[in-house]
């Protein structure tokens, strides 16, 4: 693997981007073949943060394995947990109380906003604008505070359990979320002033990292990255889970197929998430927050596949059960892994500076890729 690094026979420059590199936001290792500034080939080398979560889960019970998945795509921890909780509930045919489902959706959407918020700041930083990072964190901090108050942690909350939630909402939750909505609506226009409308930014993103609709489907590029190529793949719309079929929202599709389209999808998606939260926040039904479950959970023999929409794309949780208290085999189809595989296709022929824009708009979270 490392002999090939240097220059190849055609005199192209081979450089390593990562595992420690400011633009990879983690330990992603890309081997680039460059001709001058032009990229000829991108070759990802993964596994620097591989913990084999799938293998770990084989020895954890159905109550225990949910918390591990927060560490996968740590920016959409709630949504990962939601997928696992749904899988177990599907297997046990548990009815989740309405209240728990509504709260789950609100939490998921808050997580999605927080994740896009961080992506926006980090991507702007990749492009070279440092200020948006801090502005994005200001709003994200508010979400983290809401999470901390209700779930007890800021990033890896472990708030969902099979059958509902671990605890009821904090009394201040609704008030704080409403305050956040008002604040966020004010600040999202500032984002446009600072970054979206900026001519330098538009020029950096437009026509960069083209990924056609056919390729996006073929590479399995999902989430905002796929929707930027015009692929309708929002699991919340196509295969609604929890109460997503009862709320009004729009699936954002852009047809630009480039980095700017992927960027716009996320920016518009944040507004849709706010819309979903607005519909639900005043209509949280009263009742239990947790279904009655046995102390030891057992799934019947069979296979259970759950698809949810995380902030990065489609997360699949595939549980193969032999009827015991632990999964026999569990597979996480993580969105980042498939999204990354399209990077080579996108990057060929563009400039080195474009690579960071592409990586930024694919929104790569490395633990999500490596698992």
């Amino acid at each position: 693997m490392f002999e090939e690094i240097g220059t190849n026979t055609e005199g192209d420059l081979i450089i390593n981007v990562g595992p420690q590199h400011p633009a990879t936001h983690g330990v992603l290792h890309l081997v680039l073949t460059l001709n001058g500034e032009t990229i000829k080939k991108v070759e990802p080398h993964l596994g620097y943060i591989h913990r084999s979560i799938e293998k770990m889960c084989e020895s954890l019970t159905y109550r225990q394995f949910i918390y591990v998945t927060s560490r996968m795509d740590y920016l959409s921890a709630h949504i990962n947990n939601h997928a696992c909780a749904i899988s177990v509930e599907k297997g046990m045919q548990l009815e989740v109380p309405e209240r728990a489902q509504v709260i789950r959706v609100i939490m998921d959407e808050l997580t999605r906003i927080a994740s896009h918020e961080l992506w926006w700041g980090a991507m702007a930083m990749d492009i070279g604008a440092f200020t948006p990072f801090f502005h994005a964190f200001r709003e994200r901090e508010k979400i983290n505070e809401i999470m901390e108050e209700t779930c007890g942690a800021r990033l890896t909350m472990n708030y969902y359990v099979p059958g509902g939630l671990m605890a009821d909402l904090h009394p201040d939750f609704q008030k704080k979320v409403k305050e956040f909505i008002i604040l966020f609506k004010k600040k999202i226009d500032e984002y446009d002033e600072l970054v979206t409308g900026n001519i330098i930014f538009i020029n950096r993103m437009k026509g960069v990292g083209l990924l056609s609709k056919e390729d996006a489907v073929s590479f399995g590029v999902t989430g905002p990255a796929g929707r930027g190529s015009g692929v309708s793949n929002d699991i919340r719309k196509l295969y609604p889970y929890a109460v997503y079929d009862k709320v009004q929202f729009e699936e954002i599709l852009e047809t630009g197929c480039d980095s700017l389209a992927r960027y716009m999808v996320r920016i518009r998606e944040m507004k849709q998430s706010i819309l979903i939260i607005e519909q639900l926040i005043d209509n949280i039904p009263e009742g239990d927050f947790q279904a009655k479950t046995k102390a030891v959970l057992k799934l019947p023999k069979g296979e259970f596949y759950t698809r949810v929409e995380t902030a990065r794309g489609e997360l699949g949780v595939y549980i193969v059960s032999e009827g015991g208290t632990t999964p026999y085999r569990i597979k996480f189809r993580s969105p980042g892994f498939s999204n990354l595989s399209a990077l080579d296709k996108m990057a060929r022929g563009s400039k080195l500076g474009d690579l960071v824009a592409m990586m930024g708009t694919l929104d790569l979270v490395i633990p999500d890729i490596d698992r």
């Binding site: 693997m1 489907v217 073929s218 596949y305 085999r329 189809r333 892994f337 498939s338």
Partner: protein, 152 residues
């Protein structure tokens, strides 16, 4: 298409397919030898149009390995699961990375984790594991690593 229609259509394409409807989606068992031509038909047949391979994985059943392909169509929105049983002593199956490009990475992952050899794969190398792990397949049930694995 619903499951019944899918069944009749698929039986036309591959008479030897065995169906199993216990799960959420239609399960189809195929022989590893039939897989490549069957996959091409699934992708290209106009009324099926399975253009989106959303999950590719393998299950170690100790006695044998099972490849699992989850397929979906972005046009008709129907899903199927294709399974193929491999011999655990010499697991081999044809690659589908030229039909669904996402299979490239997923097959590399299965190759290193389960040791399944994908015939005609363009770039079958270790993706996640570091150098020197060829032949040791961590996701197999009989894998032992006294240093890195902590038993609770």
């Amino acid at each position: 298409m619903n499951n019944e229609e899918l069944k009749t259509k698929i039986t036309e394409l591959l008479p030897s397919a065995i169906f199993d409807e216990t799960g959420e989606w239609l399960n189809i068992n195929v022989e590893p030898g039939d897989w490549l031509s069957f996959a091409g038909k699934l992708r290209n047949e106009e009324s099926l149009f399975f253009d989106y391979l959303f999950c590719l994985t393998c299950i170690d059943w100790k006695t044998h390995l099972t490849m699992v392909y989850h397929l979906s169509s972005t046009k008709f929105r129907h899903n199927i699961v294709v399974k193929s049983t491999l011999d655990s002593n010499k697991p081999e199956i044809e690659t589908v990375s030229h039909i669904w490009q996402t299979a490239n990475f997923h097959e590399r992952e299965v190759y290193e984790m389960f040791g399944v050899n994908f015939l005609n794969h363009p770039d079958l190398r270790l993706l996640i594991l570091p150098d020197g792990w060829e032949g040791k397949n961590p996701m197999l049930k009989n894998f032992e690593d006294p240093i890195n694995m902590i038993k609770l």
